[in-house]
């Protein structure tokens, strides 16, 4: 696979032993024994019900959760805190109301010469299809457009990994399907490693190279399923439906002893 000279970049090694939240009602074990390797340029979806720790897992990779036992490596380097090598898109767009699309996209762009900076920003605004809205303000954009801006903001710093936390969950069904096509198109251009968290099984099967299925309390990896379907995928295709059903069955199977993740 052509990787634009980034053959070895974007490998994520996750070795989380234990992540707990302590509150007034005691301690909640959020994640336990997460071992996962994500390959460069791979599109991985993490699915699970609410409370399975999938968002916490993504936040650990992003560096927003720092208190946990274990480590996460990016290209062999241990990650401590946040960094521009990872782009993050949240469920809410989290755009800044007082900045234009242009300035929102450029918000985190480190000191570049102004021309280069502007060119990069414009490139990513065009990539997400919003070149006509470069100087619009967030309140003038629809939900889907806002999320496109958030994707451009996450990509503009050329991160090695793009982390998406239920990015399309608050969009209407049609917009969501369009955005799923869009994120694939963008990924095919950028070829960054993508980790997308969702509770939508169909979304995971439509997008992912591999689907990581998580179970709750404690949050562990229940299974990892490769999706060997060529893109663009047909949601009505027999194989597509079969994969979707097997993930569904896996998620709703009676909780027994946690399955050991087959990470090979």
């Amino acid at each position: 696979m052509v990787n634009h000279g980034f053959e070895h970049r974007g490998t994520v090694n996750i070795e989380i032993v234990h992540k707990a939240f302590s509150g007034s009602k005691g301690t909640l074990l959020a994640l336990k024994d997460i071992l996962l390797t994500i390959n460069p340029g791979e599109f991985v979806c993490i699915v699970g019900g609410s409370g399975c720790g999938k968002t916490t897992l993504l936040r650990i990779i992003a560096g927003l959760e720092t208190e946990y036992e274990g480590s996460v490596f990016l290209d062999g380097k241990r990650l401590i805190g946040t960094g521009l090598d990872r782009g993050v898109v949240f469920q809410e767009h989290r755009l800044l109301a007082w900045l234009t699309v242009h300035d929102n996209v450029g918000f985190g762009l480190a000191d570049l010469p102004p021309e280069e900076r502007s060119r990069d920003i414009r490139h990513y605004i065009s990539l997400v299809g919003l070149h006509q809205f470069e100087y619009a303000y967030p309140h003038q954009l629809s939900g889907g457009m806002s999320q496109r801006v958030a994707i451009a903001r996450a990509l503009v710093g050329h991160p090695e990994v793009l982390l998406l936390d239920e990015p399309f969950a608050s969009l209407d069904a049609l917009t969501r399907m369009r955005m799923q096509q869009e994120i694939l198109r963008i990924w095919e251009v950028e070829r960054t490693t993508v980790v997308l968290v969702t509770h939508d099984i169909e979304e995971a099967v439509y997008l992912a190279d591999r689907v990581v299925i998580m179970s709750r309390q404690p949050g562990t990896i229940r299974n990892i399923l490769p999706v060997r379907l060529s893109r663009p995928r047909d949601r009505a295709d027999r194989e597509f439906v079969r994969v979707r059903k097997s993930i569904h069955d896996e998620l709703f199977a009676p909780v027994g002893a946690p399955l050991v993740a087959d990470n090979a």
Binding site: A62, G63, L64, G81, T82, G83, L84, V88, F90, E92, R94, L96, A97, W98, T100, F107, G108, Y137, P138, H139
Partner: protein
């Protein structure tokens, strides 16, 4: 004003229209644009007041006609008194407001950003806030004398609290989700304040400045009523002493006009700063 508001017209259906159903619907209705609606009461009150005063139905030494009040303002302007007194009052408001708002900005920013400063200072400031500000007057007079200093101090106290409170609370309550965006891009504390916290708190801060300015006007009246030899408040006292109701009413109108004008200016500045945001 939104387009919907502009397009909305209040429909008054006259009593006759209701009684004569044979008339087409649009006859017997008066369409009054919303922006004119607010003028109906003041204009009718002024007209009836003028009428009653001219007919001698209200004693002219108590309730001089609006035209007499207008003439009084004109005479004050011609004699140069208006410029002198209004100038003094506006200068007091300006200096008092600037001092109070600056202190409010400083302490509000400090307590809004640093939890330790908030814990240290906020309880004391909240306790001071619960003192009705006019209650400071005797103490200020005793400490600072009857001259300008005590008046400016009182006006500053009035302007301080809304500015302090609004900025402090707004900075404290900036959406943590936006702060996370700042963390993702590894902003320094200074950049966090300048690029996220201050812009996010700006709308509430402007509201605080506006109410601070309003209170500054309120307190200048109190300060000038309680002992001054110039200013619009002094004009009021003078009018009372000499039994000239027209001068008192003229002063009331002057306060209203200047208060409204400065609020309008502040609002215009605020709208300019926030113009692009969703309302």
């Amino acid at each position: 004003m939104s387009i919907a508001e502009q397009n909305r017209r209040l429909v008054w259906k006259s009593a006759t229209a209701g009684l004569t159903p044979t008339l087409p619907d649009n006859i017997g209705r008066i369409y009054i644009p919303d922006r004119l609606l607010g003028w109906i009461i003041p204009v009718s009150v002024l007209l009836s007041w003028e009428l009653l005063a001219r007919l001698g139905r209200v004693p002219s030494n108590w309730m001089p006609a609006p035209t007499v009040v207008g003439k009084t303002i004109y005479q004050l302007a011609v004699a140069g008194d208006l410029l002198k007194h209004a100038g003094t009052t506006i200068a007091r408001v300006a200096v008092g407001f600037l001092l109070g708002a600056s202190a409010g900005t400083l302490l509000g920013g400090l307590t809004g950003y640093l939890p330790a400063a908030r814990k240290l200072l906020d309880p004391s400031l909240q306790a001071l806030r619960s003192v009705p500000s006019i209650a400071w007057v005797p103490l200020f007079l005793l400490w600072l004398g009857i001259q300008e200093t005590s008046k400016i101090a009182l006006i500053s106290v009035g302007a301080f609290f809304p500015v302090y409170l609004n900025l402090s609370v707004a900075m404290h309550h900036v959406d943590p989700k936006l702060l996370e965006v700042g963390r993702l891009y590894r902003l320094s504390s200074f950049q966090m304040v300048r690029r996220l916290i201050l812009p996010a708190a700006l709308p509430e801060y402007i509201v605080g400045l506006r109410s601070g300015l309003g209170l500054a006007w309120m307190f200048v009246v109190a300060a000038e009523l309680l002992g001054a030899s110039s200013g619009i408040g002094y004009l009021m006292v003078d009018g009372e002493m000499t039994g000239r109701a027209a001068v008192i009413l003229a002063s009331v109108i002057l306060f209203a006009v200047f208060g409204k004008a400065t609020d309008w200016m502040m609002n215009a500045v605020g709208r300019r700063l926030l113009g692009h945001r969703a309302r």
